[in-house]
Amino acid sequence: MKLASSGAWSTAFRRLAMAVIALCLTTGASYMFAIVVQSDGFDWLDIVRITLMAIASFWLAWGGCIALFGILFPPEERSTTDDLPEGRTAILLPIYNEATGPVFARLEAIMKSVAALPEADRFDFFVLSDTTKADVGEEEQRAYEQLLVRQNAGGRLFYRRREQNIGRKAGNIADFLTTSGGAYEYMLVLDADSLMDGKTILEMVRRMEADPRLGLLQSLPQIIGLSTLFGRLLQFATGLYGPYFARGLAAVQGEQGTFWGHNALIRTRAFASACGMAPLTGKPPFGGHILSHDTVEAALLARDGWKVRLDPDLTGSYEEAPANMVDYAKRDRRWCQGNLQHSRILAAPRFRFWSRISILQGVFAYLASPIWCIFLLASLAAPLVAPPPVYFDGHSPFPVFPHPETTTALALLFGLVALLILPKLLLVARALLGGNSADFGGSVRLLISFLLEILLTSILAPIHMMFHCRSVFQVLTGADSGWPTADRDDGSLPIPAAFFATWWMSIAGAGAIAFSHSYAPEMFYWLLPVALPLVFAPLLVWMTASVMLGKVTKKLGLFQVPTEAAPVDVAEDMRLALAQNAAA
């Protein structure tokens, strides 16, 4: 009891410290920006710009603090047991029109990994299909029967397909709970692209058995299996920085942690009693079934007094991710709608304070881009509405010239860039000094990869910003202008698909440059780092989706991650199963 109480106090202290640091940084940035903008006079647009800058810099400072806390606070020692698990676990694989071969190959790899455990008979596997395409459904049925025979998994592997996918994934899980959930103490929820090692699954069950108030245990999935340049960049960034960001999150979230919707172990009865969600009144996008349900489910469990915990030390948990920027933006479009919808449940009854903060963070993850975009537009327009300079203010017989604030502006710019880069730099320094740089290709390659990652993410940031702005705009207006259909298995994109997805960014970038050149020349050079990547967006999106460039970086040992240095058994098994199934 005493321990739990001290844990709650230390979590509260960390939260307070993080809020204070972020607020101090925000105040500093806003003050400096106010000095810069009032140099040519003060008007209503400056108030808008200072407000937007304050919100955006708070968001940056918040992210920087999470990384910093990840360095400062190592993961806590977690209690576990060595006994045979008492409760049975259902491993759930919800699928929806996915490519059948890879999905069942992943499942086979997980099944083999679990079968190697002495406790294998405590685990059953469920393929919960929401597939709407009849031909895909038939393929799934065939793949299920073949897997059943290959793994001798009768009574341990089940397949069911819903005719109507009411409530999407949340409805799919709810359907399992209301038909079979009572037979299992725990359920491990996967995604179609999840991979997990049997030992990790068992360790999660043991940790849950050691703590009867633990309702949900989230592992930290590592991204694997990507071969495009963008994919390798993503893998490297999440492999190097991800664990520390997760530690930082865990340090401030405490027992009101996060749920990412997959690769997490859940206590079935707690989930069933706490996490049923009535649809929201009204029509989508803000009404109807609650999307991005995972954050809300974590909040609901915490509301009923269950612990929701992220354990970043749980390795052996993997997922795949979009291999190019267009697929990444498509996924973001779905998540954006769900997260913005959460603004309606921000004031839900009995939610814990930190759960509301988590929901707000989710909303902000997508609002931050439009805020930056409006800030840029306001900055472009500011010189047009600025009052004429006052040379004689009545206090002095001599003219008073406007004081240039270039030094302050540069200091602010470097400060904001430092907020973005400094946490990453600290993490690289830690990897270099801590001796695990070999996992990332050695000291020199790690350093070059880091510099390239900073360069590429800076260039690609305006494109991400525009994709987010578009998503928010579409959600608010209920529009969807469609996406190019160019799904290739290796994640690469043809030039027309890249152009179709980003031509409007080129126009926006070129328009901003032309406008700035003609009407706001003092903003011209400040705007170029944002506008130029937009002009070349089709080329950049196409190039970063290149498998060839990805292979070149792999050959040079750049963007290497620990899972490449030491291959993952369960991923190897998955590849083997996929090859065998294709041959059969």
């Binding site: 008979d121 059953d124 469920f126 049925q141 299920y144 029967e145 073949q146 059943l148 025979v149 001798n152 998994a153 009768g154 009574g155 089940f158 397949y159 069911r160 397909r161 819903r162 005719e163 109507q164 009411i166 709810a174 359907d175 709970l177 209301t178 038909t179 079979s180 959930g181 009572g182 037979a183 079935t268 009865r269 069933a272 009693s273 706490a274 996490c275 049923g276 969600m277 009535a278 929201l280 009144t281 609650i290 809300v296 609901l300 309606r344 449940i345 004031a347 839900a348 009854p349």
Partner: protein, 122 residues
């Protein structure tokens, strides 16, 4: 709403009805909850049985291996999952506050009723 694994009820259950196979299936799969009908359907639809089921009468190990390829239904043990309203109307949301207000007024209310304003003025 839910369509479980498709089961052909018209398959010939007579093949298994007279044997101890059904009990053996329950024992091997550790599923005493499985009814005869479900098992007969599973046997009829077993992928391994499609190529001929003669080997069912083979060694216990072969029989166990065959049994472990049966597509038996999942355990039927549902949980209640009540739906929580996360965006209730204001009347519901502030109901506890209104009740608290009424409770706070409760000791004063009878006095206020007993002393009419004109009488108090007199």
């Amino acid at each position: 709403m839910t369509q479980h694994v498709s089961i052909d009820q018209t398959a010939s259950p007579a093949l298994f009805a007279d044997s101890d196979l059904l009990d053996e299936v329950r024992s091997v799969l550790k599923r005493p909850d499985l009814g005869d009908d479900a098992l007969l359907s599973a046997l009829a639809n077993a992928p391994a049985a499609r190529g001929g089921i003669a080997h069912v009468s083979a060694t216990p190990q072969d029989r166990a291996d065959f049994i472990r390829t049966l597509p038996v239904p999942a355990p039927r043990h549902g949980l209640e999952m009540p739906q929580h309203d996360l965006n209730p109307p204001l009347a519901v949301r502030f109901a506890p506050l209104v009740a608290l207000w009424h409770r706070a007024l409760h000791p004063l209310a009878p006095q206020m009723k007993r002393v009419p304003v004109p009488a108090k003025d007199r």
